[in-house]
């Protein structure tokens, strides 16, 4: 747990496209790269650019021009991939959500007791976001400003984290799904409060409070506090 939290590098999105032209602009004029290679390369470059420009302007003021300039692609290339700024944002949000889920999966040890797993997961989320303030901003603030489709995407993301939260619970002991998503909604609101106060780097401070809050409905307050005090 003492390892440095991972940094999210938007540029890494294009890394798996292989060496050479993938990482830079494609050569102008005639070339022998396949159509699908070019398309995928452009899509990933546009998404990486979206994730880089969002923290500079905020979602409402971000324009497609900002994104295409950063990505080094034409507007036509943008519209070949996405119908709108919103659609591009949603794809970028999904990628970032995917990455955060992976951080949790990597941090959680399936052999641990359930409360310890919850603690590892919460700690991984908070440390990952503290190390990547732009992503904390994306998950807790930008997504709320990007229209109703983005809010639906956020609900889907919460549902996914709810699955991670209940993983490892003894069989038959389940909370109503609404209650689990509500718990995670509270976590997002808290992250938003840190972001708005300019305290994103201090997010890991909230670990103990968040773990206690998440465990209480499952274990009851007494058992939760015993665990919290033992930790």
């Amino acid at each position: 747990m003492s390892s440095e939290p991972e940094r999210f590098e938007p540029d890494a999105l294009t890394a798996d496209l292989g060496p050479g032209p993938a990482l830079s602009r494609l050569p102008a004029g005639r070339h022998r790269l396949s159509r699908s290679f070019v398309t995928r390369n452009q899509r990933m470059r546009i998404l990486a650019a979206m994730l880089r420009v969002l923290p500079r302007h905020g979602y409402p003021a971000t324009t497609i021009g900002h994104v295409t300039k950063e990505a080094g692609v034409s507007r036509a290339a943008f519209y070949a991939q996405f119908e709108s700024k919103e659609e591009c944002f949603l794809a970028a949000y999904d990628l970032a959500g995917e990455w955060l889920c992976e951080q949790v999966e990597q941090a959680v040890d399936a052999d641990e007791e359930w409360p310890a797993r919850v603690r590892s997961g919460v700690s991984a989320v908070l440390r990952s976001l503290a190390a990547n303030p732009a992503l904390a901003q994306l998950f807790a603030v930008e997504v709320l400003q990007a229209g109703s489709a983005a809010r639906e995407r956020q609900q889907a993301c919460l549902a996914r984290f709810a699955v991670a939260l209940r993983a490892g619970r003894p069989d038959g002991e389940r909370l109503p799904p609404e209650l689990e998503e509500m718990l995670l909604g509270g976590v997002i609101t808290t992250i938003g409060r840190y972001v708005d106060a300019g305290r994103t780097e201090q997010l890991p401070e909230a670990t103990a409070e968040l773990v206690e809050y998440l465990l209480i409905p499952y274990l009851g307050p007494g058992e939760t506090r015993r665990i919290a005090r033992a930790a």
Partner: protein, 236 residues
């Protein structure tokens, strides 16, 4: 590069339209109604708030224009600007007015209750009924308050802090165990608001009163006596 790509026809404003949201029923004042200047102004102000709420439900905060608000409110632009300098101050006033109305309803319901749990349940019930009766206002208070400009978001956070305070039982009525920390109360308030916002976004505001029991279970979870009673009931 790729000049042959055909640009899709874009209708971004149309795509955000929510035809399922009914336009507000605005009651206009007939000419020579005999109302005082102050009464006319108060009526205009509330029509602007209703127009704003309806426009936000259609377009979202970012895409809402003053034109949409005045069209839905049935007022002229000039009248709008007599009241507000623009969208941001108008939103702030509408939000404050909505929170005020919600608090009044909840406080009235809480007033008569015997014991903290009964008061919490009554307040929750009144709040859910209020939001269910006005989906556009619920949308403004719970969804757009987070989407609006930063001052509005900070105001919403202050509302959540007040809600958190209201969710903590007074020491004399603590239902067993220990009091929850201020931080836990803030988490509970945030989770509650996030759940309500999710319902509103899914166009299920009218079904909010059905959530009363699960919400009460959520808000009471931190209290030992209540938690063990719930467990007993589950076993029974």
């Amino acid at each position: 590069m790729a000049r042959d790509v055909e640009l899709p026809t874009r209708q971004p404003r149309a795509s955000r339209r929510r035809p399922d949201v009914p336009p507000p029923q605005v009651e206009r004042i007939p000419p020579r109604s005999g109302l005082s200047r102050a009464e006319v102004r108060a009526n205009q102000r509330h029509r602007i708030f209703d127009g704003l709420a309806a426009a936000l439900a259609y377009h979202g905060y970012e895409d809402t224009k003053i034109t949409d608000v005045v069209e839905l409110a049935g007022l002229s632009r000039a009248t709008f600007y007599e009241h507000f300098q623009g969208k941001e101050p108008c939103f702030a006033a509408a939000y404050e007015d909505g929170v005020e109305r919600l608090s009044t309803v909840v406080e009235a319901a809480v007033g008569g209750g015997q014991g903290w749990e009964a008061r919490l349940s009554a307040g929750l019930n009144a709040g859910l009924e209020f939001l269910a009766a006005g989906p556009a206002l619920a949308h403004l208070l719970l969804v757009e308050s987070m989407a609006a400009a930063r001052p509005a978001r900070l105001e919403h956070e202050r509302s959540l802090a007040r809600l958190a305070e209201a969710l903590r039982p007074p020491a004399a009525e603590l239902p067993g165990g220990e009091a929850v920390s201020e931080e836990t109360a803030r988490l509970l308030a945030g989770g509650l608001a996030s759940h309500l916002a999710g319902r509103v976004l899914a166009d299920e505001a009218d079904r909010l009163p059905e959530d009363h029991d699960v919400l009460l279970q959520y808000l009471l979870a931190p209290y030992e006596a209540v938690a063990s009673r719930a467990a007993d009931e589950l076993r029974a």
